[in-house]
């Protein structure tokens, strides 16, 4: 099974690759759209700002490939936000695979970034959540978030409710970092490896 990680020029690829390695899967990192287009499963990680992220995708020609990718695709953190229509961060147009916009968490609750372990509240069952207990803690680090929508599988509360896990058809996303979320995070990554293509 070929699992690939899109190298967007962002820096946290190693931790995602190591997380899959702990599950016994060797992920291939690539920035070449023609290579990534062949992946059976694709992960779009990301740290940094939305406009820098989108710029990096466009520079590498990854935006088009991601816009059409037909097999399971998992966006993590900024990677999730880039799969939506828009981000208010730098007023950035994103990939539009999911509908909605990333909005700032400033002024909604406590300190921003929302940083640390917070609970998942499951609102729709899905194979990606298989075996996951409700109210499990996972690790977040972000300043922008997507409002709950019909694609939301789990919400998290930080002043306001936001989408913590989303799915629409073959597109999956986690606002938190499954690669850094202990056992529940590993379970979600394993479920992503196991979902039907």
């Amino acid at each position: 099974m070929s699992l690939m990680i899109a190298d967007t020029g962002c820096a946290n690829l190693a931790s995602v690759r190591f997380a899959f390695a702990r599950l016994g899967v060797n992920a291939i990192i690539s920035s070449a759209p023609e290579e990534l287009a062949l992946a059976e499963r694709l992960v779009l990680p990301g740290v940094g700002s939305a406009n820098a992220g989108m710029q990096a995708l466009r520079t590498n020609g990854l935006d088009e490939m991601l816009g059409e990718f037909p097999r399971p695709l998992l966006g993590v953190c900024l990677g999730l936000q880039l799969l939506f229509d828009h981000s208010d961060e730098g007023d950035t147009d994103c990939l539009g695979r999911l509908h909605g916009a990333a909005e700032s968490l400033s002024g909604t609750a406590g300190p921003v970034p929302h940083m640390g372990w917070n609970t998942l509240n499951i609102c729709q069952m899905d194979p990606i959540l298989s075996g996951l207990e409700d109210r499990t803690y996972v690790y977040f680090v972000h300043s922008f978030a997507i409002k709950p929508s019909p694609d939301t599988l789990a919400v998290t509360t930080y002043g306001t409710n936001f989408s913590a896990i989303v799915r629409r058809d073959n597109i999956y996303g986690c606002q938190f970092h499954p690669e850094r979320s202990g056992k529940p995070g590993a379970l979600i990554l394993q479920n992503f490896l196991d979902v039907n293509p």
Binding site: S15, G48, P111, G116, V141
Partner: protein, 255 residues
């Protein structure tokens, strides 16, 4: 609800975890990767590695060692120590660290914070501050890893806290130097004062001695996390027991 974080801090010197009293006289307490895995298994929420020899020796933390930690650990970790440029930070993050923490190099060149935040985002830029009560006010010290090279700065802690946030710091770790290693409790007065100046998460550091010190710092200062070293390294406090205790005090912690 967002849980308060318990953060063991591993001061690393030449690949070994060490602990001093008041930042001096270091004793080896164990191997970095081994201790990291132990703390993760026991329920630590996050780890911080300070390469305390890096800044005084003007060299960067070793990226290969960071990668070894990243391979094993499934909780977030921050690396600090001599990160003085975009390239330094890139190497550490590429090796698998989740956050980088800058201290002395940011005091020498405060624009470093802006550069790092612009490139990597504020969420992975932590600023560590070594703060010392001089009898009149809290003052920022630099190069505290080596007492012979330690410097006073012109920054009052409260001003530096505002400055680093305006430059893009995403989290602040406040090391209260007068309390460090003495296990007599966190500096509640200072942390309470500084917390009010922080729009980003503030992490308390220095002085933890017993479980109640953790409850006090969370209840009385509103910090997002509490960092400690010797109480964990010397098995004075077990993380799992600490977390049950905090839960009994109605403090939200990760189970």
């Amino acid at each position: 609800m967002l849980a308060r974080r318990i953060i063991p801090c591993l001061d690393v010197m030449d690949g070994k975890v060490v602990k001093g009293i008041g930042f001096a006289d270091h004793q080896v307490v164990g191997d970095a990767v081994e201790l990291a895995c132990r703390y993760s298994a026991e329920g630590a929420d996050e780890l911080v590695f300070y390469d305390i020899t890096a800044s005084p020796q003007r060299r960067r933390v070793d990226a290969a060692w960071v990668s070894q930690i990243a391979r094993e650990l499934d909780i977030p970790f921050t690396v600090a120590g001599g990160i003085g440029s975009l390239e330094d930070a890139q190497a550490i993050l590429a090796a698998g660290a989740d956050k980088i923490s800058v201290n002395s190099p940011a005091l020498a060149n405060s624009d470093l914070i802006n550069v790092l935040a612009r490139r990597f985002g504020s969420q992975c830029v932590v600023v560590g501050i070594d703060s010392f009560w001089d009898g009149q006010d809290w003052q920022v010290k630099a190069l505290t890893g080596d007492p012979s090279k330690m410097l006073n700065t012109n920054w009052k802690t409260r001003d530096w806290i505002k400055e680093v946030q305006s430059r893009g710091a995403g989290e602040i770790v406040l090391n209260c130097m007068n309390e460090d290693g003495r296990r007599a409790g966190y500096d509640l007065k200072q942390l309470h004062t500084m917390r009010k100046l922080c729009a980003v998460p503030l992490i308390a550091s220095g002085g933890a001695g017993c479980q109640q010190d953790f409850a006090n710092v969370f209840q009385k200062t509103g910090v997002a996390g509490a960092l400690a070293a010797s109480v964990f390294h010397k098995n004075i406090i077990a993380i799992a027991a600490l977390k049950s205790y905090l839960r009994e005090q109605n403090i939200e912690v990760r189970s």
